[in-house]
Symmetry: C2
Subunit: 453 residues, 2 copies
């Protein structure tokens, strides 16, 4: 054990750090590297306030891991720290049989809030929202609002981001930021300073749409309202940073041909990790078997011209690579809202043109290689010309097919209501491999008939 | 043209919306779908305050696009709206020859700030930070602090996120949140309520480390200090949401085998798009040529047993797919800080085991297919047994090599100071293709000697 008094730069960090000697900020820095045992041991060693801040800042699965094995009274103390939205998340992460016991640990008022929140999916605005927020009335003066905020701040652990102005029916009629409150004359009415152009979401707005709204408007919080315009709660930007990372991670893992892990890589147990990869890998393998079937149809051609076989990996993988590029670009653009379903035709025209140009570039490299190797080593025999043309032509065809398949598959999946990110690089590559074999040998049959075949 | 009075759900959105009829919120919703001409036309149609809010919320490249062609006096009005950090970003995005003209449009005080910020790279804390923030003195009372904030709010367009307490040498000695300020007794001293455990960054902290700090601590803002602890500015969470998306987009594009586009897909012109894809595609193509070379060494074996050629795509692509999975998982875990350089050995052991298990599963599927096809169609002739064993053995070898190469390559790249995300799925697939050919034919030479070969 080599104790370390201040956190060293990330990558040289010594994992055998002595958790007993760290402050809250230092512990937060090395937290990701500790295992759950070390974390449970480290937390009570901190001053209470630092320990609470650290606990509150952790993502939900970790909070659950940290407190679920504690004795009931300690568990209660930690659980009651959480605002209702986070408490609801934690309850959702707990094993089903412990959930009602957890709910019983909450104060009755919070318990009701949490039960209400549990009805929402955790990737919707309703599941992310906090039902506590600072509410004002239009007829309040600025001084009255300040007085209310003073009480609010004493009762709540999280500061309000914005102030929401509700009418008597709890309908949202305006918002005021702290800056605007401070800038206003003390005697002015809230109704005079509030903003009335409202951007609101409903409780079933999904988290991807939500994060796009936060990016577009640069708000710190967005109000959730029901169909009658009644305020239900707020979604705050700190949850959105987590959402954005989670969504990107999920998409990246799917694009890589894995099911989303839903947990850090090193924290995922070996069985789960392997299972989440084996599914797609097996499906792709069975699909890829079609290449063997397709090549079987051309066994005679291969027997007569073994040289044709040499270029198979080169040709099909070029299609796979261009397809990976196209699918990745389109999936990401869709996730960011830059490309929508109705853009498919624009994307298709672009990708068709891209495919032809990229295929042309690779063909040129291939032809150059044929010419140089042929002149230098007589590598490909007397029929090298037609072979070169076959390879070059196949490259244009396969690369163009790859970019088209890669770019259109995400549209097809989204149109079918599936996740575009499932059009993973390996999936597209497999699709293009099978087609690539067919394109290559079909072209060879035509171009080499009478010479090599 | 079909005018639309309220923004319809994203995917059915009519692109031919009439921009003249939209409110600020509606315009923000459809903004991504408008081209630059429509945007320039739409902005002045809005009430001034809504137009300003919309402009302020846009990412820098768009702000530049919107104002750079305007007459100088209009350009000045827009430019002066921006806080210094955003103004510096905009100047950085402008063509080099217009930069000093832009700087001249700023007020002298702001111009000095902006010049200072221009010295920082825009992916470091220094480049993201805003030099304006609300500063307090430890000896102020709460009432005095409130009075100061009132003046601050009137002078600045962005509200402060936290209040920073500086000593006489401008060293940061504490922070106070709004909640804490409101909760405190009016006569209390700032020194009594401020938090003294500080999390700070320096101006060269890179944006990936920065976004991890925001996630770990759930702060709304982080102070930037120099080596003497003197406060330089603040980085705020709204910039971080953008950074997180940008970093994920960059990584995703690199993982897909493209250079990072640095602009929305549909906004990237065809030439740039093609150039950013052609580079890697050509490099991979030249690498993939080695498969032809490698297979050339085994031309005699293929001629004697054409059946061997049929399984080449199946075997090498399985290695490529498992390699894509591994590299994607590891690159993302590194980007999230879940896996560090020194974890390479843990990752390697896991991936070795994963590779063997996954390879085993695919082998089992392959053997099943051989047995069924052989019994049903006598598909592979008298030597089907040794062929099946060769294919199955190669699969274990190639898949294991794929996961190892895919998982270790990001470590190697990071160790060399390069971006781990360059270990793209296509790159790993190409590497594994070449090795896969060698593994397969070497195993075949040994196992089939005396029978087929």
């Amino acid at each position: 054990m080599s104790p370390s008094s201040s956190p060293p730069p990330s990558d040289e960090l010594d994992r055998d750090v002595d958790v007993d000697e760290l402050t809250g900020a230092e512990l937060a820095e090395v937290w990701a590297l500790l295992d759950v045992e070390e974390r449970r041991r480290a937390l009570p060693l901190l001053p209470r306030r630092e320990a609470e801040d650290l606990f509150l800042a952790r993502p939900t699965p970790e909070q659950a891991e940290l407190i679920l094995d504690l004795p009931a009274d300690e568990r209660r103390a930690w659980l009651r720290l959480l605002p209702p939205d986070d408490a609801a998340d934690l309850v959702q992460h707990a094993p089903a049989e412990t959930r009602s016991a957890l709910l019983d640990l909450l104060e009755p008022a919070t318990r009701r809030e949490v039960r209400g929140l549990l009805a929402y999916a955790d990737d919707e605005a309703g599941g992310l929202m906090n039902p506590y927020y600072a509410r004002l009335r239009p007829e309040m003066t600025i001084t009255e609002a300040m007085g209310y905020l003073r009480r609010y701040a004493r009762e709540h652990r999280e500061g309000p981001y914005y102030l929401y102005v509700l009418d008597a029916e709890q309908r949202l009629v305006g918002t005021v930021s702290f800056r605007e409150l401070f800038a206003a004359e003390p005697g002015a009415r809230i109704a005079d300073v509030m903003r009335q152009e409202l951007v609101t979401v409903s409780d079933d707005t999904d988290q991807e749409a939500l994060s796009r709204l936060f990016e577009t408007h640069r708000f710190l919080a967005l109000p959730v309202v029901d169909e009658q315009g009644r305020m239900k709660g707020v979604v705050t930007i700190d949850d959105i940073v987590e959402v954005v990372q989670e969504e990107a991670t999920e998409d990246i893992q799917k694009m890589g041909g894995t099911e989303a892990l839903d947990a850090p890589y090193l924290a995922t147990d070996f069985f789960t990790l392997t299972r989440k990869r084996a599914g797609w890998l097996s499906v792709l393998f069975v699909g890829e078997m079609l290449t063997a079937t397709a090549m079987g149809w051309f066994e005679d051609e291969i027997a007569r011209a073994v040289i044709l076989a040499l270029f198979i990996p080169l040709i099909i993988s070029s299609g796979g690579n261009s397809g990976s590029q196209a699918t990745t670009l389109v999936i990401r653009a869709m996730a960011l809202g830059e490309v929508r379903l109705r853009d498919w035709w624009r994307v298709m025209r672009r990708e068709l043109a891209s495919g032809l140009v990229l295929g042309g570039i690779l063909s040129a490299i291939a032809v150059l290689r044929f010419v140089v190797w042929q002149l230098a080593f007589d590598a490909y025999g007397e029929h090298w010309g037609p072979i070169a043309i076959t390879v070059a032509g196949s490259l244009v065809g396969v690369v163009t097919f790859g970019t088209l398949a890669g770019s259109m598959l995400p549209f097809v999946l989204r149109r079918l209501g599936l996740d575009p990110a499932s059009a993973s690089a390996p999936f597209v590559a497999t699709l293009v491999d099978v087609t690539g074999v067919l394109i290559y040998f079909s072209l060879a049959s035509v171009l080499l008939r009478g010479t090599l075949l």
